[in-house]
Amino acid sequence: MSDIIKKPEPGRVARAWDSDISYSFRKSPLAIVAAGVSLLIILAAIFAPWIAPHDPFNPATLNLMDGFTPPMEPNQFTGNTYWLGTDNQGRDVFSTILYGARISLFVGFMAVAFAMVLGITLGLIAGYRGGWVDSLLMRVADVQLTFPSILLALLIFGVARGFIPPAYREAMAIWVLIVAIGLSEWVQYARVVRGATMVEKSKEYVQAARVIGAHPAKILIRHILPNVMGPVLVIATIGLALAIIAEATLSFLGVGVPSTQPSLGTLIRIGQGFLFSGEWWILLFPSLTLLALALSVNLLGDWLRDALNPRLR
């Protein structure tokens, strides 16, 4: 009997399409534009080696005669035309932006991943265990929150750089940067996860899991973690924008990524040097890319926060 009434089970895609989140996304033009711009830049960065007209960091593909070509105009010596012009060494600005965004996004994503893993782990433990572990962690978090995260990242980066032997400083710079930005932002995750864990742990499904003798680690990862991920996702999205800006700021200050791997921040620093001689395009296009990236990821985070918050519906 029952198989006559039973409708075919909707597939994963169909269920995702029908979900509240998907509906609210389709109804928000701002979210669609923001997601489109972010996705476009991320894809362009991933496929940079295939999209870029040439590899700007391979000296074999550079022609010094191409230097300072304005955008969309043929070079006076070689006759080559570049969409966004070239810099002093004849590097195509469009290519340097693609490769720069690659490094900015790599540092951004890795820093967020690092902060997320650290913050979630400590937050779960603090919320589940309570007691002195909890008060110690939250004390540390309170103290850390009083410092602006960019200052903290800068200080951690400076200190860590001091501890690394000079021979490895350049090679390790990107990883030190990732750890520094990650360490400056873990607190947000830890606080939110701790709060959510304290709510979840008194619920019946957790008690049931405890009664059947599940290991605390299993309870935390299999049962509690999936239920606290919503707010974490919001923080991670906004955190990505923050991490990208932090990376760009440090690189702009000349203490971030090494000059052999220029990120968007490094490109802006280089471009600033040519402002007074009139080569505005070397500065403008990397700045616009950074702005578009940070703004669209930020807007996406804002939308996600509203969409996941049932009180606002």
């Binding site: 200080l155 501890f163 921040g265 802006i268 402002l275 702005l291």
Partner: protein
């Protein structure tokens, strides 16, 4: 009350000691201090002698104690790069940073409150929506990009204002060099002060606007209007006055951020302040300067937070009740 202050003080001391430990570890483990002080010809025996004379062979805790004792008196040794006492370097650059921070703080507060009140009172007007939109862009632009764009527009294209440095400075007293008394000094201050203050301004503006909208809905405002008070008296005497408590708190806490972001602004505008000194010390791994700056910044933040916490405690009686309940 005494117990709360004591606990809060103890917490501040622990924070400072932790930062001091990091700073000390920098000194102790980054390179060999002896190697950075002596020349090529110094013999091993002389090096060992110097090591004993400087107390570098003593136990870690004794050395750390000595470090803290010296740091309290402001002695952080000599900069590796500039070969000058670190405290002297910092003191000679502090006026530049403080002047910049002060002017941008005042700008941020004045314009923040002004725009906040305006946008709250004229909700939906075209000027208000323009201000709100611009403020949204101001929040999402990274500080350094604001600085670079301002230089582009006002220094390169329009050539109205200088793009770097402090201009002419004059001495007030023995060591305070000020740029506020000369025309070129004031002109040089404008762009950096806007760059540094813009973010704080938008923050204060949004806060004032939100608080004003909240307060304007309350009964005592309606009653004030019913009494026939002028708009001016209602808006400024009653409404604005009651929004200012949280605004002043937030502004106080933002002082720390202004100092943090002054590192960025000073680098963009080549402003000869403490922040630029720190960035260069990070670049060249100049440990004494880094350690001193670390301690200085930590001290500023700890003091600001201590003051704000104590003020809260004095102003808000609920905190006292909570503490009392928690203890029993």
């Amino acid at each position: 009350m005494a117990a709360f202050i004591l606990r809060r003080l103890a917490q501040s001391v622990i924070v400072m000691l932790t930062v001091a430990l990091v700073a000390f570890a920098l000194f102790r483990f980054v390179g060999d201090p002896i190697a950075s002080m002596v020349g090529q010809e110094t013999t091993l025996a002389e090096r060992a002698e110097l090591r004993t004379a400087l107390g570098l062979d003593e136990p870690f805790l004794v050395q750390f104690g000595n470090f803290v004792a010296r740091a309290v008196t402001g002695d952080f040794g000599i900069s590796y790069r500039l070969q000058q006492p670190v405290m002297e370097l910092i003191m000679s650059r502090l006026p530049a940073t403080l002047e910049l921070a002060m002017v941008s703080g005042i700008l941020a507060f004045a314009f923040g409150v002004g725009f906040g009140v305006y946008t709250a009172l004229r909700r939906g007007g075209w000027a208000s929506s323009t201000i709100m939109t611009v403020s949204l862009i101001g929040v999402s632009l990274p500080t350094f990009l604001i600085g670079v764009l301002l230089i582009w527009v006002f220094a390169v294209e329009l050539q109205w204002l200088p793009s770097f440095g402090r201009g002419d400075t004059v001495y007030i007293g023995d060591w305070w060099r000020t740029g506020l008394l000369t025309e070129s000094g004031r002109a040089s201050l404008i762009l950096p002060a806007i760059t540094l203050g813009l973010y704080q301004m938008t923050l204060i503006m949004r806060l004032v606007r939100a608080e004003m909208l909240e307060v304007l809905r309350t009964d005592y405002i309606k009653f004030a209007r019913a009494r026939g008070l002028s708009n001016r008296a209602v808006n400024f005497g009653h409404a604005l006055k009651n929004t200012l408590v949280p605004v002043i708190t937030i502004t106080g806490l933002q002082l720390g951020s202004i100092i943090a972001f002054s590192i960025i602004t000073e680098t963009v505008f080549q402003w000869p302040g403490v922040g630029a000194l720190f960035i260069n010390s990070v670049r060249f791994v100049d440990v004494p300067v880094m350690a001193a700056y670390l301690m200085l910044i930590a001290l500023v933040f700890v003091v600001i937070n201590l003051i704000v916490d104590l003020l809260y405690y004095a102003v808000d009686p609920r905190l006292r009740v909570d503490r009392a309940n928690a203890r029993h």
